[in-house]
Amino acid sequence: MALNVGCAARPGKARKNKTGSWRVFRPVFESEQCTKCGMCALVCPEGCVIETEEGEFVPDYEYCKGCGICAEVCPKKGIRMEQEEK
């Protein structure tokens, strides 16, 4: 996408701002340890841990800023923070 001259932008919702690019550490969800307690989704400050139809919890990397709170609270220690390669 080419840059807009003068950094001009149309109005939009925060959804348009893909904050995933800010991330330094990426949460990696290891589903085999997951008991589907949902704590990760509950504490995510960005609301970007999504429950799938199968009841799995997955992060939305387009918006996840990598704060690591989900990894901290996961009672099974089933979320691993990995450094992003940029």
């Binding site: 840059l3 001259v5 003068g6 950094c7 001009a8 932008a9 149309r10 109005p11 690019s21 800010w22």
Partner: protein, 384 residues
């Protein structure tokens, strides 16, 4: 029509003919006569513009930025401390790519307080993304305003522009100026076509934030626009020459540089004195010339290098000092000519209104002959 007029009034007159729709400025010596005259013109219905009175230069340029973003052609003028107060807004105007034209009536910066001329004010904004034109006389100051609007508003450029001319030396001096008519200016300078504009029915925001993923690319785009402006300036100068007969198609004006051994580099009104001094030295058999820089930003590296081919010594006259390094122009010329074998000597002169006469120019040639430079010229050592 040829008329005898004060520099400030000539600039106010041409600003009017450029048909700005919004003027916002705060009076400050030695710019005051320009904005007084424009305020009169608006009050007398000679100029159909919104004149926004403000409480500071920060507000003046902020009002200009908003007006320009809304799609108006905008004019302002300031100097010295006033420009310093605009510092933050200057960077925003350039970053938002608003083609505002502002006259800078060059004056020194405090402290100590000084209302007199040097070029420290505009030079200190060299990295802000504004085009910078410097005028030698009031005719050039007048003409450069038309060219500045034409270049700034070109969609290949979209950068704001300073038209700089020396405080008092030009602004308060009466000179003959060939003032074009409104019709002539209209023929040269078409109405402003904004690239995009604020519109409540189709809203946009400008200068939105950029994360580390994008910021560098926006700065790169600014630099590219600066580089593209070189050709646009040449074209606008050539069109001007065709219509008005005065040629500003070169970013650097060469004066008696053919076969010159010593070349001066200077900007602004001092070039007149240098030219007269050169004529006298040439009569005495001294091979001296001048490369006058008309656009300091973009810096005319290519033209200047070409103009100086063949000289052995370059004497740069800097009416500014980048404290801790040297004169701003001299530093750039040294970088430009590194490895060329040409000796570059820098002279800090005329700070805070110190007079420079023809005999000073001749004395600098004598110093350059001896290889003595990179110094303040004309210091009163008895008070140090």
């Amino acid at each position: 029509m040829l008329q005898i007029t004060e520099g400030s009034h000539a600039v106010a007159e041409i600003a009017k003919f450029c048909r700005p729709q919004v003027v916002a400025a705060y009076p400050i010596t030695p710019q005051t006569h320009i904005v007084e005259a424009l305020a009169d013109m608006v009050a007398n219905c000679e100029l159909d513009a919104e004149y926004i009175t403000v409480e500071s230069e920060f507000s003046a340029l902020s009002a200009c930025l908003g007006a320009s973003a809304a799609g108006s052609r905008v004019y302002s003028a300031t100097t010295s401390q006033g420009l310093a107060l605009m510092f933050e807004v200057c960077f925003n105007v350039a970053g938002m790519r608003q083609p505002i034209v502002m006259s800078i009536v060059n004056r020194s910066l405090g402290a100590p307080l000084s209302i007199w001329n040097d070029q420290q004010d505009s030079i200190s904004l060299r990295d802000s993304g504004w085009l910078q034109f410097y005028a030698e006389d009031n005719q050039e100051a007048t003409d450069l305003h038309m060219i500045a609007y034409k270049v700034a508003e070109d969609h290949d450029v979209l950068l704001p522009a300073f038209v700089c001319f020396d405080g008092f030396i030009l602004s308060h001096t009466y000179e003959p100026v060939d003032m074009p008519s409104q019709e002539e200016v209209d023929a040269y300078l078409p109405a402003f076509t904004p690239y995009h504009r604020l519109d409540a029915k189709d809203p946009i925001s400008m200068g939105m934030y950029a994360t580390p993923d994008y910021y560098m690319e926006f700065r790169y785009e600014l630099e590219r626009a600066m580089q593209r402006s070189i050709d646009v300036i040449k074209r606008a100068g050539a069109e001007f020459a065709e219509q008005f007969g005065r040629d500003y198609s070169a970013l650097v004006e060469s004066y008696r540089l053919d076969d010159a051994e010593i070349a001066f580099i200077a900007m602004g009104s001092i070039c007149g004195t240098v030219k007269d001094a050169i004529d006298e030295m040439r009569d005495a058999g001294k091979k001296v010339g001048l490369a006058k820089i008309r656009t300091y930003r973009p810096f005319p590296t290519e033209e200047l290098t070409r103009a100086l081919a063949g000289v052995s010594t370059v004497a740069v006259l800097d009416k500014n000092i980048s404290l801790g390094s040297g004169g701003a122009v001299g530093t750039e010329v040294k970088a430009m000519l590194a490895g060329s074998g040409i000796t570059v000597l820098d002279y800090i002169i005329a700070l805070g209104g110190r007079d420079v006469r023809k005999r000073d120019i001749a004395a600098i040639v004598d110093l350059a002959d001896k290889g003595v430079g990179d110094m303040f010229y004309g210091l009163r050592t008895e008070v140090l």
